[in-house]
């Protein structure tokens, strides 16, 4: 198989783009796609202080690698979630990545704010799924640390597969308020809240994994032990089967939603986030989900 651009031996085939690329041409193609997304949705400008949420997985480390090698002003934020050996390995890989590139990394231990209780125990106490509780905790820490340390934007490694799976899950149940909130750039109405961006929203998992591999990034290959059976994985599997039969489906599904459909649901969101009465971070109710969660956690 030959590279579409230079005719050298290809190392990856991207059916969604009807293309195959050698290492160098793939890296160029990948970077161009991401920079196009950043520019077209005005995610951030050169010089802005960007807090990159890094889990130690392929997507977040690939994002950090790309942004810092493009000269953006980035700092990493890793949350130690207290999920046993998985969290230990994730933290080690993230710290090693930052050290090898001389990058600034903030590590926050979330169990300190929840009386040493890990994500799974909090979920059990709330009778919610671990993934849902994990999301609440992550968002709270991202918002809090970014605001306290003066960052203007938070970048996460959510990719095309994540976003298309989320869209499918929301469409299957017609969660119109959630559809109104799904956009790769989350502008905040209050100036003290931080903008959130997803530069990889049109980049597939195959592409982020290929980029990480070709850049020699040592990422956590193991999956979170609580991810098995999660709704998102069922949606990803269904979309991958469709993608196999009809290449480009995932990208069209999401990009058309972002370009033409999302704004039709924005009216479903009653109002933008306001400040939580307890912690002051963005909340859609009087008290944010994180404060409700920690209230339960601190009960003996």
């Amino acid at each position: 198989m030959k590279c579409r651009s230079c005719r050298r031996k290809a190392v990856t085939k991207l059916r969604a783009h009807n293309s195959a690329f050698c290492r160098d041409c793939f890296l160029l193609f990948f970077r161009r796609q991401v920079h196009r997304a950043i520019k077209s949705l005005r995610m951030f400008e050169p010089g802005e202080r960007i807090l990159v949420a890094v889990s130690g997985g392929k997507d977040s480390l690939a994002l950090w690698d790309l942004l810092c090698s493009a000269g953006y002003n980035t700092t990493g934020l890793h949350l130690a979630l207290g999920i046993g050996a998985y969290s230990t390995a994730s933290r080690e890989k993230t710290e090693r990545f930052a050290k090898s590139r001389g990058l600034e990394l903030i590590v926050a231990d979330v169990t300190e704010g929840t009386e040493q209780r890990g994500v799974s125990e909090l979920a059990r106490r709330q009778r919610r799924s671990t993934c849902s509780v994990c999301g609440v905790i992550k968002r709270h820490y991202f918002d809090t640390i970014a605001a306290e340390r003066g960052f203007s934007v938070i970048a996460t490694g959510h990719n095309l597969d994540d976003e298309a799976a989320r869209l499918l899950a929301n469409v299957l149940r017609w969660r119109t308020d959630y559809l109104g909130k799904q956009f790769p750039v989350l502008e905040q109405r209050e100036p003290r809240f931080i903008r959130k961006v997803r530069p990889f929203y049109l980049i597939s998992e195959l592409e982020t994994a290929t980029y990480a591999f070709l850049r020699g990034i040592d990422y956590v290959v193991e999956e979170c032990p609580y991810a098995a059976g999660a709704t998102q994985l069922h949606c990803k599997e269904a979309l991958n089967r469709l993608e196999e039969a009809m290449p480009g489906t995932k990208r069209a599904f999401l990009s058309e939603f972002v370009a033409r459909m999302q704004q039709r649901f924005s009216g479903e969101v009653e109002r933008g986030a306001r400040a939580c009465q307890c912690c002051g971070r963005p909340s859609y109710g009087e008290t944010c989900s994180f404060c409700r969660l920690t209230r339960v956690a601190t009960r003996s």
Partner: protein
């Protein structure tokens, strides 16, 4: 030595198949959708048309992650 050694990650599962075989056929026989994995031999990525011969070792690494979006 006509056997291809395959390591599936992140499951850590190891299995064997007779070689030689093109990568695309290997994936089909294992019921793996090609766009959901990296196929790695000697620190190099393989495309679907590459032939893996007996005695060689490959890693099939899933690219699917998540649980929380």
């Amino acid at each position: 030595m006509n056997v291809i050694k395959i390591k599936l990650e992140p499951q850590g599962k190891e299995l064997q198949m007779p070689g030689p075989r093109p990568v695309g056929r290997l994936l089909k026989e294992l019921d793996i959708v090609p766009g959901t994995v990296l196929v790695i031999r000697d620190e190099t990525l393989l495309t679907e048309d590459e032939i893996v011969t007996g005695g060689e070792e490959i890693e099939i690494r899933s690219v699917i992650s998540g649980g929380n979006s």
